[in-house]
Symmetry: C2
Subunit: 231 residues, 2 copies
């Protein structure tokens, strides 16, 4: 039973709040029963797991928690990275909000067979906030990393100003939904190189665009349905 805040495992957990340390050590923290159970269901062996009152004094575990008081379990796991693949996947560009990255990982786990592929400038999917937003889907479907030109398949760039909407779009056998940052969207060179550019149909009196996680999710839903109908 760990009874000192000087313990190496507790120090590691504290360090892993920083991206710098997550990259250096190649591991990350999952906090709470739901996430630790999701890791187990997906067959991930933890580096270590600390349970309050069994492995560690509860107050000390709270002290390294990113959530605040009441944490009962924290697990530390090795980061895994997939390769782009599957019939349908999603590519994110400069999505800086870790909650959005984690939420899209969860949506993709439900709506397509490929991973979320992170392009330049995205939030770390292994940050505490992204892991939590993924609700454990990060274990079932680890993210990939790739530049736009490395993506296989028919690349559909989402753009609020596109003429075509996602319901009318031509589709290939394999597709990648590409979604860009809040406000700036995808860069011009991606729009120019994409196989299709399409928008989510929104009301004329509506907002300019949806939140990026919403747009990616709706596009995965639509494209996935249409691919299934044509399969």
């Amino acid at each position: 039973m760990i009874t000192s805040a000087d313990n190496d495992k507790l120090k590691t957990i504290r360090k892993l709040r920083q991206k710098h340390w997550r990259e250096k050590l190649g591991v990350f923290v999952a906090e709470g029963e739901d996430l630790v159970n999701a890791a187990e269901r997906a067959g991930w062996e933890p580096e270590f797991v600390l349970r309050a009152g069994r492995d560690v004094d509860p107050g000390l575990l709270d002290g390294v928690s990113a959530l605040g008081s009441g944490t009962r379990v924290i697990g530390v796991y090795e980061q895994r990275w997939s390769e782009p693949g599957g019939r349908l996947m999603v590519w994110l560009y400069a999505v800086e909000d870790p909650g959005n990255v984690g939420t899209v990982i969860r949506s993709a786990h439900g709506l397509c067979d490929g991973p979320v592929v992170l392009g330049p400038g995205c939030a770390d999917p292994y940050s505490s906030k992204a892991v939590r937003a993924s609700m454990g889907s990060v274990f079932a479907r680890p993210p990939a990393r790739a530049a736009f030109h490395e993506l296989p398949g028919w690349r559909i760039a989402l753009d609020a100003h596109a003429e075509q909407d996602v319901r009318g779009m031509e589709l290939g056998d394999r597709a990648v939904v590409c979604a860009g940052a809040e406000r700036r969207g995808l860069p011009g060179e991606v729009l120019a190189a994409a196989d299709a550019v399409a928008r989510i149909p929104l009301r004329a009196d509506g907002p300019d665009s949806l939140n990026v996680a919403m747009a990616a999710t709706v596009a995965l839903y639509e494209v996935g349905n249409r691919m299934a109908a044509h399969a």
Copy 2:
């Protein structure tokens, strides 16, 4: 030019971080050019607006900011509440995360003609985080408040365990998409009283459910498209 932190307007802004004060005063804060511009576009007269360097010392404005340093403008507005209405709207039950509430307000503004109707236990749509997540849609389409039994139209309850999926569902002339809290979903009495219970179709090897804002958005997209096709 305000040069003292004791100024009444600055004190009001500080108080409005608390729901208690927002309810008591019936006003709320919008921070940043984008939101203040969205209010203006929607024709909302502010109670007051403070611009850094013009109306107030920049350091003092930063001091009352919910975002931290660099704030250039803060506006205070009277809260407005819509009535349930329109052909398609969304009802939220116990959605406690203000980011989710604000994001659904933005999605509804883009995908349906009715407001977001808040049922019991939802986060305050006029909290700073919800207003920000709405990206200004809270001005264009103020939320409503109602209990489930007060909702007009065909009430579609989203439930991850429903047999029917949203693509096959019968629709009325008017519809309300009803979405419940993360984890717990909608309560049994709502599922029992709803006109239809449906799920978002997810992969068998996927997560149990989508994030509530994603589920509501996908359902609005699907139901809206189907209603337009049958109109």
